[in-house]
Subunit: 333 residues, 2 copies
């Protein structure tokens, strides 16, 4: 089966296309996660890094740099930077959410402890910072510093917005920009910047990453309620149990009857959940077509991502990024 | 009482001398800890920042820059950067140590929760990163990135070294460099760098900060056992209860009889502590003159700090930094 076959998913085509560079990125990651002084660090990091994940963010950086004709070495550093920031936030997220599973394996906070996850996350964040300094580009540093602040702010906002059933779509969007889109946008933007691409292309890359990230997160939140159709997947309802105000629920609450509002207030606002509540939540979501409405939003963001790509030269990588924007939404039927 | 009176402590004289600049630093800190999106952030930060503390680290940066003749605006940014990094590490430390009190007030993790402390710490760290990017100096960024990595590594090392009674003085020194001296050293070094000082002065400033930080931390660890004399202060024994391998204990273990070794193994290695154990620990420490030996080390580091200052021009600020190096050890009789 060739790489152009439609049954090969876009991120796999990207991975194959960027294989040599991703090998260099992975080597740099392994090198920099080492610590001769504190062996706990590579243990914890390896657990998470080697668990796999799709490495979407570093691939976006590599793709953006290559699309803009970059032929220097620093996109490797930036791709590793972005993956380190991502890994650091996962470690801290799992502490904050008290998660027990990540990528099908027990989380670091469960295998070791919260302390290790907090401190190793800090270590990876500082390592990412060293890596980006090595590029010698103040503009890259500025972009990544701002992205880091947006990420941290979004996480705090999510913490305080959770359980608050008056959360608006506007707040949801800020949370999503923080938890996902800020790093996607920085990942693509720094690729263009390091390549010295024209401003219009840098802006387009940033917009692509931002819109792709938002689409990606909306779909993730949809999948947590089994997607837009009535097929019920595995592991659904985590966000409901954790009382997170995600887009489908926000849309359903906006159209809620008095009785439904009481239901959301009890289950998400007060957290008094009983057997059968998830099924009732799904009923309400379907009644208001809230999942379909959220999916339409995801599609619109995906379309924005693709539209931004019009600024970039037409080539293989652009095709893959366009397909990726489609694929992100296609995950939810 | 004039500022030159010996009863005015050196950090108070520094604070008076640098008052205008510290006002600017405090203004910048308040400005940058704000978050219109997530009000939890300034709440948590204000609790810690406004609790006071001596603001030693930002004053070191201001003093170093001024001593080297700096007249630009960026030492203010760097001083705020250093204080943000310090505050971020305090927030994370209190989560890791499960502390309930800091600077005489309940900790943020107690007043809010661990989640807020982790995420607000991340936010402050990213804010510090933005502030240093604004200076436009890649060298400053490099120094602070390396300091951040050393801090995080030291924290992890402390976590894994705790409870291990075979911990050596060498490991202790690495932990101390991480938890304290790396930021002191970076604070003074970046002051010299931003001022464009000659290399020999930059190196001297770094050495001063490093040695001062080590001396400071040894004394802190001594005070946790009531100091080198037999006067027993308040709140002693926290490190013993938390089973931390600090310098006095490491020195006592190095000279331990078989019976004493069994005692340390039970109380610190296994954490099976009983009433009267702290008193017995103090007896052993005094028997081996371990507190006096640790104090001698602190004095030696203080002397190294002062020796480094010989490279700097003789002026008021240099006198205050020399006095500060004396004062740090004078805290313990």
């Amino acid at each position: 089966m060739g790489l152009d076959s439609p049954s090969v998913r876009p991120h796999e085509r990207l991975a194959a296309y960027l294989e040599a560079e991703m090998t260099a990125v992975n080597r740099l990651i392994r090198e920099r996660m080492a610590s001769e002084n504190a062996p706990r660090i590579p243990e914890v990091t390896a657990h998470l890094v080697e668990a796999g994940g799709k490495r979407l963010r570093p691939m976006l950086t590599l793709a953006a740099a290559r699309m803009c004709g970059y032929d220097g070495p620093h996109h490797i550093h930036l791709a590793a930077t972005v993956e380190f920031i991502h890994t650091a936030t996962l470690l801290h997220d799992d502490v904050v959410d008290e998660s027990r599973q990540r990528r099908g394996r027990p989380t670091a906070n469960l295998l070791w402890d919260n302390k290790s996850s907090v401190l190793v996350g800090d270590y990876l964040f500082s390592r990412s910072f060293q890596l980006m300094v090595e590029t010698g580009s103040l503009r890259v540093l500025d972009i990544l510093a701002n992205a880091s602040a947006t990420i941290a702010e979004g996480e705090v906002l999510q913490l305080t917005a959770a359980q608050d059933i008056t959360t608006t779509e506007e707040t949801y969007l800020k949370v999503v920009r923080g938890k996902t889109a800020a790093l996607f946008a920085a990942a693509t933007e720094v690729g263009g910047v390091i390549a010295g691409a024209p401003e219009a292309q840098v802006t387009a890359l940033r917009e692509y990453g931002d819109a792709l990230g938002i689409s990606f997160q909306i779909v993730d939140d949809l999948l947590d309620y089994g997607g837009a159709t009535e097929t019920i997947g595995k592991n659904i309802g985590d966000d409901f149990r954790e009382r997170k105000l995600t887009l489908p629920v926000i849309k359903a609450i906006a159209n809620a009857s008095e009785q439904e509002r009481t239901f959301w207030e009890r289950t998400i606002g007060k957290g008094r959940q009983e057997a059968g509540d998830l099924e009732q939540a799904l009923d309400i979501l379907h009644r208001h077509r809230a999942l379909e409405a959220a999916r339409a939003d995801a599609l619109a963001w995906s379309a924005r991502a693709k539209a931004a790509m019009a600024e970039l030269p037409s080539n293989n990588l652009r095709e893959m990024l366009l397909d990726l924007a489609d694929y992100v939404v296609a995950r939810v039927s």
